[in-house]
Amino acid sequence: MAADTVIGTGLVRHGGRKFSDYLVFNTDHKVIGIQYLVLAFTFFIIGGLLAELIRAQLAAPNNQVVTGSQYNLVLTLHGTIMIFLWIIPAFVGAANYVVPIMIGANDMAFPRLNAVSFWLLVPGGLLMLASFAVGGAESGWTAYPPLSVTTPVGQTLWALALQFIGFSSIFGAINFLVTVFNLRAPGMSLTRMPLLAWAIVATSLIILLGTPVLSGVLLLLIFQRLLGAQFFTPAGGGNPLLWQNLFWFYSHPAVYIMILPGFGIISEVLPVFARKPIFGYKLIAFSSMAIAVFGFLVWAHHMFTSGMDPFLRVPFMVTSMIIAVPTGVKIFSWLATIWAGKLRFTTSMMFALAFISMFVIGGLSGIFLASVPIDIHVQDTYFVVAHLHYVLFGGSVMSLFAGLYLWYPKITGRMLDEKLGHLHFWLTFMGFNLTFFPQHLAGLQGMPRRVYTYAPEFWALNLISSLGAFLMAIAVLPFLYNALRSLVAGRVAGPNPWRAFGLEWTLSSPPPIHNFPTPPVVEGDPYGYGERPVPGTTVAPAPGVAGGE
């Protein structure tokens, strides 16, 4: 019973009845969702500490915090962990918890496969940490051969870790697709589905088509490292460009694996706190699918300065620019969603609004990178580092926090403290911009990425970056404190603290073990604000002040 007090009142209604149930194989999608989220957040802390090490080394030129080879190990593990053990699994965790409930299902289609997907991450994560302990994964998260062939043994552990994580991802994608297409409640047509479910469909299709390519090319790398195969080294008839083509065929779509669920979350958060239906539902859903398709046609823009065929760069430039269009559609639809709303600036809403603001910057710098002549100059510089962090932190991580603040009451039964939430938000927002905005300028002026030291002229920009990174680290503390303390001391949430549409808000917080005691009947999409009363609430939309006219 002591364990129950540790995890608060709410969680016992899950398939997890006591704390230890969360440490073992469990098939309740809600337990698995929490397992994913906690594991991913742990790796967020680890990856974040590695980032702080990077910024400590770069706080001044010729710093001696780490050696060149240690620095390469740290940057490789930072990138790999943040992508494969934080952003991707954190989205899977959030989706695992909420998507089945949102579509009126009692669990995922394959509950045991779902648990297997999670538990594959554990050996994956341990191998990743082992590769760090052993040392040797020093060729960046992109692991270009021949460098990644010559690095010490840790590189092999790194590749094996990614195999486990890759299979976890593939099994998860199959599960999500079958769940969304087969287990929707009566009345939930495809066009009544929450947009997060659409985003998860698009993401899962990308994973299903892309991740096996990553698994394959990693296998080639492992063969080359362990068995003397010569796939990537010219001396043995191999080609280093082979890796780049196959790697980016997965890894550019992977960017959309990391951002489409974020788009989905933003489309859920904004209507709740703007008290308006999502604007342009069909176009948002369609643009997710368009991104999933176009995402596979842009990979060579990572290779514009490589030895690829010079003319082939042109079609890839065109597709890379066109993919900005469906992304722009979403941004404009979200702006229209909050227009003439009645905005409530909860922490969740703050992160969602910051997402729009920051993601646009990452999107715009992406158009620069798509242009071959400009890319010739900025490829492999800090401009790219700035761009990818505006997309993956300003986009993905902001949306993850928007989602966590929205669904935390559903998951735990308790409210987070909003004051601490706002503190977390503002520290993160300021730290993030201080860290990454100056990096655009450093890159344009001639600072390459992945360097442990730099010319003295870049000192000021790097110092600002390092101070910002320090602020970002501090920002995590109020969140961590808030999330742990609210488990026991947070205000009791009740089923629907935000007065939101969506099936998840019709259930108790947390929901009972098999979600819906009686099958739900779906009468519309979850965005009917201003059109119909929110089910289960006694508060009818109040007449009176009309938008402040």
């Binding site: 269009v325 158009i367 442990y452 201003g530 002040v545």
Partner: protein, 357 residues
């Protein structure tokens, strides 16, 4: 496309796009145009390229920057306006206006960005086609990247150097390759970058437009010494360039013809194999800062590693640089000098360094 909203009388009377909203839209639109024109014209962040292709890339960048600034102002403007204007009043528990969409608006914001990116793609293509164009009077320089140094070979003159010298105004065709892992040859001020890969020759055309000395940087992670894999490009007018070429040829011939002058030979080897890029040495006019300075190394060498004579220490440091790492320096020196240099060359270089007292 406003749906029935019988449950929400609050919203029924509220125009979605009232005069304040219209005024804001106009102001944001004007600000966007102004920002686009001003930022695009001024382009404070990428200017002053010192090559002909660099100037074109900077101009293209200005265009992108202007358009990006305009879009930035539009998005952030509407976002900030909405945050201020549509914040709910504390007592208002009602909902906003239930707008589901607007087909015309959605077509507009799909089509206009599509037109913009197609325009940007066409414009980028025209710049690309132009900067890739070879000119008839090209001079060829073969560039080899290796962990962690650049080497330049001039087939016209049969000379090999560790820094790039090119004549002002003449197009240079760089034929780039790697002796080991991938590197990327980058001269930031000239906006030129190309990967160096083993077993493959990549090419880039470059025409310098400003005399000067510019850093050459490796842009592709290539190992522990990636950050210090640097050299420099010296651009001078044709007569100055020819003088330099003759000096290189002369130095090489003197070294070959007169082994009696071991000092000249040592100095030439010091610069030819790129020792100068990293190790400061007054006698060779070397100013590199990556590795320890070698002024006076001849007096110190006997006292560095116990049991090693001065000659043994210097020789070991050249052929097996990781054997002893000077405190506060990184183990980044290429380890293949034992293979790349002949025994006679190593001997000459060791003697030359021993004499640096």
């Amino acid at each position: 496309m406003t749906h029935h909203n019988t449950h929400n009388p609050a919203s029924s009377g509220a125009p979605v796009f009232d005069n304040t909203g219209k005024l804001a839209a106009i102001i944001i639109g004007v600000l966007a145009v102004v920002a686009g024109v001003v930022v695009g014209t001024a382009n404070p962040i990428l200017r002053g390229a010192t090559s002909s292709q660099g100037a074109q890339i900077d101009t293209l960048f200005s265009l992108f920057l202007g358009i990006a600034a305009a879009i930035f102002v539009i998005v952030q403007g509407f976002l900030l306006f909405s945050i201020v204007r549509f914040a709910r009043t504390p007592e208002d528990e009602g909902d906003g206006v239930p707008l589901r969409g607007n087909t015309k608006l959605e077509i507009f914001w799909t089509a206009v960005p599509a037109l913009i990116v197609v325009f940007l793609a066409i414009y980028s293509y025209r710049v690309l086609a132009d900067i890739d164009q070879p000119r008839p009077d090209q001079m060829v320089v073969e560039v080899t990247g290796r962990q962690y140094a650049w080497e330049f070979y001039y087939p016209d003159y049969d000379i090999k150097t560790s820094e790039l010298h090119i004549p002002l105004g003449r197009q240079v065709l760089l034929k780039i390759t790697s002796a080991d892992v991938n590197h990327a040859f980058w001269i930031p001020q000239m906006r030129i970058k190309k990967d160096a890969m083993g077993g493959k020759i990549t090419t880039a055309n470059i025409t310098a437009t400003e005399p000067g000395t510019y850093p050459i940087v490796c842009a592709e992670l290539c190992g522990a010494g990636h950050a210090v894999m640097r050299s420099q490009a010296v651009v001078e007018a044709e007569p100055g360039f020819q003088t330099w070429v003759q000096a290189q040829i002369g130095a090489k011939q003197r070294a070959a013809a007169a082994p009696a002058d071991p000092k000249a030979l040592g100095r030439q080897l010091y610069n030819q194999y790129g020792c100068n890029a990293c190790h400061k040495l007054a006698d060779a006019n070397a100013v590199g800062l990556v590795g320890p300075a070698l002024d006076g190394i001849g007096s110190r060498a006997a006292n560095v590693v116990p049991g090693q004579s001065a000659e043994e220490y210097i020789r070991t440091s050249i052929v097996k640089p990781t054997a002893y790492i000077t405190p506060n320096y990184q183990p980044v020196m290429p380890g293949d000098y034992g293979q790349r240099m002949s025994e006679a060359e190593i001997q000459a270089l060791v003697q030359y360094l021993l004499e640096q007292k």
